[in-house]
């Protein structure tokens, strides 16, 4: 990676991080006011959409690899996998920040806010508190766990528990699946490299073919898991489903315009592939990293609703209709607003 490219990559990552953070905040507002979700669920689902999905990224990369052989404009920048890892983080942070502010505003142990139906400030249902004979004095179960404790002192058992949760949380937020894919690739490259270059050359063609085969199997399996998640949509309402379907397109388009703006700023025309991959990083919603964060840090949120949207609807849309649509939008943007001095060889529209 030349110096100039490194500078491009650094800037692009920063922009990507900010874009996904904004997407997270937009999702929260839309879900709270338009889709009328509980604030705790709106914050959690916003975390999903403010992050990205390794699976969708890999699928999109597979499609582009298949095309770039015949049409070089489908190429993409080599540092995109690093973007995948970086842009997984903002969603988690957005969700954690909103949730901790909700806790401060007195969220009850079931996750309802004052004014929301079912709000029950009493601590966890130990109405038998009086019946507690000579048990260790527990005082009320303050809301929330790590933060916002009032009353009972923390036993060292609880201290160990809370530190475990925070450590695991850091692990989930920063060691996200994007990183594993990145390091996995590097290690395999290193191992086959070590066993003599002849092996790797021959492997390249095989590797791409095997990769695409494995990709189909992965998509088939994910498709089945996604369908199972759809069942949980019944309780959600059409507005939520509408968000899960339309949202990705809006966020992807925002992403492509941001990438185009950054290109104009640098006077450098990115390849179509880079546009599409960046679109997918913005438009996709996480279903591995953020669910793990949710299980650890937001036990009060609904365990089924967020996955129904991110895996059931958004993932299925992205890997079938989404990617071709984003390719088409990317071509329109580059054709209609060419960056001064750079004429993009006209690419045959999608046949």
């Amino acid at each position: 990676l030349s110096g100039e490219e490194l500078m491009h990559a650094g800037g692009f990552m920063l922009i990507g991080f900010i874009t996904n953070t904004i997407i997270g905040c937009i999702s929260y507002l839309v879900l709270k006011n338009f889709a009328k979700l509980r604030q705790i669920d709106a914050a959690t689902v916003a975390g999903y959409y403010g992050s990205d999905s390794a699976g969708t990224f890999v699928t999109c990369k597979g499609v582009l690899d298949g095309k770039k052989g015949l049409d070089p404009s489908y190429n993409y920048a080599a540092y995109m996998p690093v973007m995948l890892a970086v842009m997984e983080i903002p969603g988690c942070l957005v969700a954690l920040m909103i949730v901790s502010s909700l806790r401060k505003k007195g969220m009850d142990p079931r996750g309802n806010m004052p004014g929301e139906p079912g709000y029950d400030p009493r601590p966890l249902p130990d109405s038998l508190a009086e019946e507690v004979g000579h048990g260790a004095d527990h005082g009320g179960h303050g809301g929330g766990h790590s933060s916002g404790r009032h009353g009972a002192t923390e036993t060292n058992g609880e201290k160990r528990f809370n530190s475990f949760i925070s450590l695991e949380l850091l692990h989930e937020v920063f060691l996200n699946p994007g990183l594993f894919l990145l390091f996995g690739g590097i290690i395999i490259g290193f191992v086959s490299q070590l066993q003599g270059s002849k092996v790797t050359q021959e492997d390249d063609k095989l590797f791409v073919q095997l990769f695409q085969g494995a990709l189909c199997l992965f998509l088939l399996e994910m498709g089945m898991t996604a369908c199972k998640r759809l069942r949980d949509l019944k309780t959600a309402g059409w507005r939520f489903v509408f968000f899960a379907l339309v949202g990705p397109n809006i966020f992807a388009t925002i992403g492509m315009f941001v990438a185009h703006g950054y290109g104009m700023l640098l006077g450098h025309q990115f390849d179509i592939g880079t546009y599409v991959l960046f679109a997918v990083l913005c438009g996709a919603a996480s279903y591995i990293a953020v669910p793990a964060v949710q299980r650890l840090a937001i036990p009060e949120a609904s365990p089924t609703l967020p996955l129904a949207a991110s895996l059931g609807v958004t993932f299925s849309y992205n890997v079938t209709m989404g990617i071709p649509v984003y390719i088409e939008i990317a071509k329109q943007i580059t054709n209609l607003l060419p960056i001064a001095g750079h004429v993009v060889e006209t690419v045959a529209p999608l046949t």
């Binding site: 142990p109 601590p123 966890l124 048990g135 260790a136 527990h138 179960h141 303050g142 929330g144 766990h145 790590s146 404790r149 009972a152 923390e154 036993t155 058992g157 609880e158 160990r160 528990f161 809370n162 475990f164 949760i165 695991e168 898991t225 998640r229 279903y287 591995i288 669910p291 793990a292 299980r295 650890l296 036990p299 009060e300 609904s302 365990p303 089924t304 996955l307 895996l311």
Partner: protein
């Protein structure tokens, strides 16, 4: 008829995310051993499923045969505020152990 002694069995069913900390604490509280099975189920928190490996890996059922004192300490630990926010269920009963065994003492 081999003579039997009475021991306490604690069963804890919790979400897999907090499996490691629970097992560490259980040993710290004095339990000599435990056995765990992955399971799935429904409780106050609704169905807990691992989106990939399927439901049967959503929760962990930990069975601990130990002395009365340690069993009490475990139940006390599990009912602390911080732990209670997570999907966790626990109950206790008595079992008889062969007098010759010491795996639980």
């Amino acid at each position: 008829m081999p003579t039997m002694t009475v021991a306490r069995r604690v069963v804890v069913i919790a979400e897999k995310a907090i499996e490691r900390i629970l097992l560490e604490e259980i040993l710290k509280l004095g339990a000599k051993g435990y056995n765990c099975t992955y399971c799935f189920g429904k409780g106050e928190h609704g169905l807990i499923e691992d989106p990939f490996t399927g439901p049967e890996h959503g929760c962990v059922r930990i069975e601990i045969v130990t002395s009365v004192k340690v069993a009490e300490a475990i139940m006390e630990y599990l009912h602390q505020d911080a732990v209670q926010h997570y999907p966790i269920t626990s109950f206790v009963d008595n079992v008889q152990v062969d007098a010759r065994d010491t795996f639980y003492r």
